[in-house]
Symmetry: C2
Subunit: 316 residues, 2 copies
């Protein structure tokens, strides 16, 4: 049997067929064009059927459908409560799908699905915990605690990007000041890199960016560091300090078995990102003399984590 | 049937007999004199027997014994791994007790036990969550998530007092700088009150403290606020700002059903502590437009929370 995982993005619907061992057998992507909820659900169904067709399978081969949503879901009622980029409010999507495809339908927040996917990959026993920290435009965190997704009382738990690490600091999109994601997301690193370039017209970073700050991305400062640029080194070290503060907060509070770093930045050489992060956290975490500690590691499923985790929601 | 709950403090052993509804039937306290592990376990047993004797009961009336430990336990093996104030290391206390009293023995960290006690009081369904924040010498936090104690991979989860709210700030006993408990514990409020008095020799706080800063306690600034002292108001407002930052971090991350404030300070009038805290958090928490939110409330079991929670560990 297979499960279908659907990852609802702001611009695309991605779906994959996942086997019982959690492997992604095939995947599909279509642009998301919002023309109302009926069309949206019809697109989801068509996407599922297309996946099956490609493998010469029919709906009988599918044991469940899981869906990762960029927003808040009520997983008990199978309802999308609200999403950030699509005008969905209180859509009973599970029921709508089941009208034409009577299969268990599971919903999750997209960051939660990604964490669940990584957890299914990493965990070896039932009571382990995993926190996934995804460095992107913001910082997404998903919490699997004692083998279960922690969704909180309102489906909105796991907003680790919105713990404050600089009180009274930069204004965040959430309305609070000094949130972690304002300082340690990939976008924050881009802003920090550009600010350093503006302050240092002679920095090697300019050459890497082809003389144009709009070419800066999350890799630019790391590339400068590799080339021995002192300004780039400062940018990366400050960035890692910010990253380590929030990671240590999460560890001191939750002591998960695994804390995985995901997102594009996580592909940087371990010598430049993972190892210095581990060293910083090592000096700050609580109860350093305990034998057992959270393992800080890289996420492994990359962009597929959301699809795989959504497909595996039925395991919860 | 009854359960015995034992709260191991730095200076006292407290124990109570708890009925099936979670009510504390009787309690006892003896000074903790450390004369080695054998004597320690013998004292625990004698304390339990004394509780039963007082009620005209025998060991047959006891279904389980629970123990809250100021330190790290391995609850699966029934071992106290280490404690902060007593020289215990890797003591298989459950097994030692069971040699002469064959009853299930459950272990928990003391802050976890208190949170579990409050949870058993507050919760109405299985999947609720509760975070207990105890304002004392430090800040203790205990996490009950989805109806289960979250202990983390090493029994050391829930160190919410050691999330940073002022990066690079005051040095904490844990070795990190700027931890929440350096700014928002009851001890921190005492330090802040004394600092304000030193800076303002004319403040009304001096009168409340009888002219002697060593008389300052957690109530002094609140009493000054009640009497209309402007310096006291500043102290309390700054303190509440610090408290609210950490509470909001916990809520944004965990969205528990209940976040309970415990410790002596929680007995302040709601108008001076709970309500202004709620208002501050309301302006900062993530997703303020959701219908369901964490309820910020006072803990209700007071100093008995540890005993009751320890006794109820068998319910986990």
């Amino acid at each position: 049997m297979y499960a279908i995982g659907i990852d609802i993005g702001g611009t695309n619907l991605k779906a994959g067929l996942v086997d019982e061992r959690g492997g992604l057998v095939s995947a599909e992507k279509i642009p998301l064009r919002w023309e109302g909820p009926e069309k949206f659900v019809a697109d989801l169904l068509a996407l599922g059927d297309r996946l099956l067709e490609q493998q010469g399978l029919d709906r009988g081969a599918v044991s469940s459908v899981g869906m990762g949503v960029p927003g808040v879901v009520d997983h008990r009622r199978g309802t999308i409560v609200k999403t950030t980029n699509i005008p969905i409010r209180d859509l009973p999507v599970a029921e709508w799908i089941q009208r034409s495809w009577p299969v268990p339908v599971h919903l999750g927040n997209d960051a939660d699905c990604a964490a669940w996917g990584e957890y299914c990959h990493f965990s070896h026993s039932e009571e382990e915990s995993l926190v996934l920290v995804t460095l992107g435009t913001g910082i997404g965190t998903g919490l699997v605690l004692g083998g279960r997704l922690h969704r909180g009382c309102n489906g909105c738990a796991g907003e680790g990007g919105h713990i404050v690490i600089v009180p009274g600091g930069e204004l965040c999109s959430c309305g609070r000041r000094g949130c972690w994601e304002r300082y340690a997301s990939a976008s924050a690193l881009v802003r920090q890199t550009r600010a350093a370039m503006a302050a240092h017209p002679d920095a090697g970073l300019w050459e890497i960016a082809g003389g144009d700050p709009s070419n800066v991305d999350g890799r630019t400062a790391f590339e400068g560091l590799r080339r021995g640029d002192a300004v780039a080194r400062q940018v990366v070290e400050q960035y890692l300090d910010y990253l380590a503060e929030g990671v240590t907060d999460l560890i001191n509070l939750l002591q998960p078995t695994f804390l995985c770093i995901g997102g594009g930045l996580s592909h940087e050489d371990d010598a430049y990102l993972l190892h210095p992060l581990q060293r910083r956290v090592e000096t700050m975490r609580f109860d350093r003399d305990l034998q057992r500690h959270t393992e800080i590691c890289k996420a492994v499923l990359g962009n597929d984590a959301g699809i795989i985790g959504a497909a595996l929601l039925g395991r919860l």
